[in-house]
């Protein structure tokens, strides 16, 4: 059976034009996909955790699903300061259920933006987010800037589908109608296709963004001759390109959010875009990584009022990044149990946090072996959203698309598992 217009559950590009060939209950082939998406979909059945596992003195041991739900409910109910973490690679429906559980038990809850585009959120909370959908870029953008990101490898179809090579209504010559600028600290495969490559000194993003703003608002005379390894002349030229574009966009990645002054980079980038809009049309867009990290932020926000790093122990949502962010509560050894859904914190968190993760009961709802499952005390295997379970996901430009289920699974979905845990807790209460 050929299934068309399948949505790829890998990166924030959320391409929705895949063709999947399914025979029986097996995936034979996937078309229209990049390597990342192909491997995730075609390889979905390799290395799965086959049954719920619990750790005792001798190691991991199989238990029944029912017993696993029971154990999970016990761990969460007995914890004084539980944390629920992950969410970026599952559906919005599951995330909603997760927040319901967090409210119920008075848990901390955080999502992967905390180690990714969290600073983008903070920058946006200072200056706002002048943005647009990817189709606006496709149809209009004559200047595209990739700053601190490498879509060629991280979002492989982004440039082809949305931002560089694609043809749109007012850009019917595709690549020829667009000027591409890459700003990065090193050459990349993305910079190789750019018209202009600005190789800047590491950590100098903030200076360069503000220098461009100064030039654009007419205060360029105060600038030194060289900023962050780039000459003032060259920056004036770039500023001119920005002002003279009819429709410009800056895509930015972790090279901006996680270096130097982090959220201040993003705040100043937003201010630069704001100033540019006095002269022309300009937008910015974070290159979100996981396919539904944008959805996690959205669901958190409409249910609690805040996008991440939320403490529900007081009965209301207390949000204070730096205090309630997952790494901070772990490193301070506050957290005494954790539920991980659809992510791998052990592979991404800082060392003091991982030490704490090793000390406390760790429940992982996870389809594959990962660094996190290596430390887990209870593992509940799960159907893979976007392949074995359907639901809603948000693209990097906040456009919701329903991901499909095209394979039957013997495992329950994140949504079903979380629902079972909530029901089990209800029974205890």
């Amino acid at each position: 059976m050929i299934i068309k217009n399948v949505v790829c559950p890998f990166c924030g590009s959320l391409c929705d034009d895949l063709t999947v060939e399914v025979e029986g209950n097996e995936i034979k082939n996937v078309d229209n996909t990049c390597k990342l998406g192909y491997n995730k979909i075609v390889g979905y059945s390799h290395g799965r955790i086959e049954a719920p596992l619990i750790r005792d003195k001798e190691g991991l041991k199989e238990i029944s699903y029912d017993k696993a739900i029971d154990e999970a409910a016990k761990i969460l109910c007995n914890a004084r300061r539980p944390l629920m973490y992950g969410w970026s690679s599952t559906t919005c429906e599951a995330i909603e259920k997760g927040i319901e559980l967090a409210i119920k038990i008075g848990s901390l809850i955080d999502q992967t933006a905390t180690v990714c585009h969290g600073p983008t959120t903070l920058g946006i909370q200072e200056e706002g987010k002048p943005s647009c959908t990817l189709g606006e870029v496709k149809n209009r953008a004559d200047l595209v800037i990739y700053w601190g990101c490498n879509p060629f490898h991280a979002h492989p179809r982004h440039m082809g589908r949305y931002s560089t090579f694609t043809k749109g209504y007012f850009t019917n010559k595709g690549r020829k109608d667009r000027k591409i600028i890459v700003v990065d600290v090193r050459e990349s495969d993305t910079s190789k296709v750019a018209d202009i490559f600005l190789k800047i000194e590491p950590g100098s993003d903030y200076k360069i963004i503000n220098a461009l703003t100064s030039i654009i608002i007419g205060n360029g005379d105060i600038l030194p001759e060289e900023i962050g390894g780039i000459s003032k002349d060259r920056l004036e030229y770039i500023a001119g390109e920005m002002v003279n574009a009819n429709f410009g966009i800056v895509f930015f990645g972790l090279g901006v959010t996680m270096t130097g002054v982090k959220d201040k980079n993003i705040g100043s980038l937003s201010r630069l875009v704001k100033e540019l809009n006095r002269n022309t049309k300009f937008s910015l867009m974070p290159m979100r990584g996981h396919y539904n990290v944008s959805g996690a932020g959205n669901v958190f926000t409409w249910l609690t009022g805040f996008p991440y790093a939320i403490d529900l122990s007081r009965g209301y949502a207390y949000y204070n990044p730096g205090e309630t962010t997952a790494n901070d509560v772990l490193a301070r050894k506050e957290v005494d149990a954790i539920l991980v859904v659809a992510s791998d914190p052990v592979a991404h968190f800082v060392n003091p946090s991982i030490r704490r993760l090793a000390e406390i009961p760790l429940i992982a709802i996870e389809p594959y072996t990962s660094a996190t499952t290596e430390l887990a005390d209870l593992i509940i295997p799960v159907a893979i959203s976007g392949i074995e379970a359907d639901g809603t996901a948000y693209r990097m430009d906040e456009i919701p698309i329903r991901v499909k289920k095209f394979i039957d699974s013997k495992f329950k979905s994140d949504l079903e598992i979380l629902t079972d845990i909530i029901n089990r807790i209800d029974r205890y209460e």
Binding site: T133, E136, Y169, T280, G297, T304, G305, Y316, I399
Partner: protein
């Protein structure tokens, strides 16, 4: 059988011409009935009884609202309330979380609310939030004002295709009606520009705002949609815009409709009633607007009242938000949506010492006081643009009391005496008129036949306020009025008591209404265009576009009777 009788209330039910009458109301299984056998008795001895409140224009769900929440954690922290044994945690003052929206409306006695700006491409988002809002029945209006398909069909004069497209879109987005924001101008903003008159051209598309409005008004009639076209005028928020507002209103003049409803609704008219040439010469033209409304029975308006304080502005009119941000210097978000619409969000502080804000405040009240027929003017704050929804009780007390207004006028900048006419207005709203502008007019305009009244067969949505209308004088006891409207004695939703003494006592989930205007072969008319444009210009596949009933709580489809030549409603 679930029966309830509300005894001895003083009932105001304008749609059934019941005014100040001591009357029992019988309820069975969620509906108003003529008698009951073995009911639970609620004796409300002399208290004020209204139908459940209907807010016809309030931004409560979707991408814009969430963008407001996201950029404003400082607002989120303003009204934090912990969960209770039945309610979820609340947050937010102007941009509330979904739970707080439902609870706060319900506590004030509202039972039905319209989200007035749904971008089609993110319609799922709007419906996900609507689904999560408790306590209320919900509707949403789909944005069409500068959609490429719409402008294309208008420019080629293909009215049949335009009708087919609107019908298709309403179904795909589960929308209730046509919303038009800054017709044509929004497309120009995508190049950083705007339109200045009804006859300005939209860049590249060669159509004018006048043509877009006229054709969508015709389509609204062809499709037999229940609600008028719902228009946010061009140049909204700019000094001197009252002219274009009056011009827009005149488009509807003489346009008869089969349903007997008005063909055109001008929303949050306060923001469109500005005089002067710039912010320095800014003054109120509410009198000009009211004169047009009073002489033109083909339009309705809602107020969009501004109240002093901090709030968050949000609209599909991105140009407006950008300009507002230039004045305030505050943070600003924009979201242009491919082929369809746009939007912006920025916080604002309306100050009683700032002349412009004071005149804006006066304009809204003037419009409400100068428009004679209360069915033509609904009470809104354009939540949260003019003020958060929780400010309604204060506005009601201002409308009911000249003394209260005089007291307020003394507190605000003197510009109110020079460049507004509010101080000279003596009218005071009566209870019945308040029931109209907060309930009956809006239910009428949306043609929600089971809402906004207490006749036999209506939904049993009832509000009982803790005030005895025959024992107080609202023009003197305005504080009591405000207090009573802030916290209902009882809110009854679908026959169940959900609020008692201003507290939520039961959490319910409401219905979601949408309009199905499909007619014979409508899809064939536009199929090629859809396939072509989706393949070439959208970034989402046609197959993956739109909403299905999974996202709706208790979906409630309204069928219409479209007629296009020989084509009629799809069986």
């Amino acid at each position: 059988m679930n029966e309830l009788i509300i005894k001895n209330g003083i009932v105001f039910d304008p749609l059934n011409n019941i005014k100040d009458e001591k009357k029992d109301i019988c309820i069975r299984d969620g509906k108003i009935v003529d008698d009951v056998k073995n009911p639970k008795i609620l004796d409300v001895n002399g208290l004020l009884v209204f139908p459940g409140g209907v807010d016809g224009h309030s931004h409560i769900a979707g991408a814009k609202v969430n963008s407001g929440r996201l950029i404003r954690p400082e607002d989120g922290r303003r009204s934090l309330k912990p969960k209770t044994s039945i309610t979820m945690p609340s947050s937010g003052y102007s941009v509330k979380n979904v739970f707080s929206e439902g609870y706060d409306y319900s506590i004030m006695g509202y039972t039905t609310v319209v989200e007035p700006a749904m971008p089609p491409l993110s319609a799922i988002h709007t419906h996900e939030e609507l689904r999560d809002i408790p306590m209320l029945d919900k509707l949403s209006l789909t944005l069409f004002g500068f959609n490429w398909f719409v402008m294309g069909y208008v420019s080629r004069g293909e009215i049949d295709k335009l009708a087919a497209y609107v019908a298709w879109m309403l179904k795909r987005t589960r929308g209730y009606g046509i919303k038009i924001v800054n017709p044509g101008g929004g497309e120009n903003w995508k190049w950083g520009k705007n339109v200045d008159s009804l006859d300005d051209q939209v860049i590249h598309f060669g159509v004018t705002p006048r043509e877009i409005l006229n054709d969508l008004m015709k389509v609204n009639e062809i499709l037999d949609l229940p609600h008028p076209i719902h228009v946010h005028t061009n140049k909204l928020g700019q000094p001197g815009n009252y002219n274009i507002t009056v011009d827009t209103m005149k488009l509807a003049s003489g346009f008869e409709t089969q349903r007997g409803r008005e063909p055109l609704h001008i929303t949050h008219v306060m923001f469109s009633s500005y005089g002067g040439e710039n912010w320095k010469t800014f003054d109120s033209k509410a009198d000009e607007i009211a004169r047009e409304v009073n002489s033109n029975k083909f339009i309705t308006v809602d107020v969009g009242q501004l109240m002093f304080g901090d709030t968050t502005t949000m609209t599909a009119d991105g140009y407006l938000e950008f300009n507002l941000q230039k004045l305030t210097g505050f943070k600003w978000s924009n979201s242009d949506t491919e082929l369809e619409t746009g939007g912006g969000v920025t916080p604002v502080i309306y100050s009683p010492t700032v002349p412009v804000n004071v005149i804006q405040w006066a304009i809204g009240l003037e419009a409400a006081l100068l428009i004679n027929d209360p069915y033509q003017v609904w009470l809104t704050t354009d939540h949260p643009n003019g003020a958060p929804l929780t400010r309604y009780p204060e506005i009601i007390s201002l409308l009911m009391s000249k003394e209260k207004r005089e007291k307020e006028i003394l507190q605000v900048n003197n510009a109110v005496n020079k460049r507004a006419i509010l101080p000279s207005l003596d009218r005071e709203y009566e209870w019945n008129e308040i029931a109209i502008i907060t309930r009956a007019a809006q239910a009428n305009s949306y043609q929600l036949r089971d809402k906004g009244h207490l006749g036999i067969g209506a939904d049993a949505d009832v509000t009982i306020f803790d005030i005895k209308p025959n024992e107080i004088d609202p023009s003197k006891d305005y504080d009591k009025v405000e207090k009573a409207f802030s916290a209902a004695k009882y809110t009854i939703k679908g026959g169940e008591i959900v609020v008692k003494d201003g507290q939520i006592v039961k959490v319910v989930s409401g219905k979601t209404y949408w309009t199905n205007a499909e007619f014979d072969e409508y899809y064939e008319l536009i199929e090629d265009d859809l396939k072509d444009w989706f393949a070439n210009y959208y970034t989402v596949n046609l197959d993956n576009y739109g909403v299905n009933d999974v996202y709706l709580t208790n979906p409630c489809m309204i069928r219409t009777n479209p007629t296009i030549g020989s084509r009629v409603r799809l069986a």
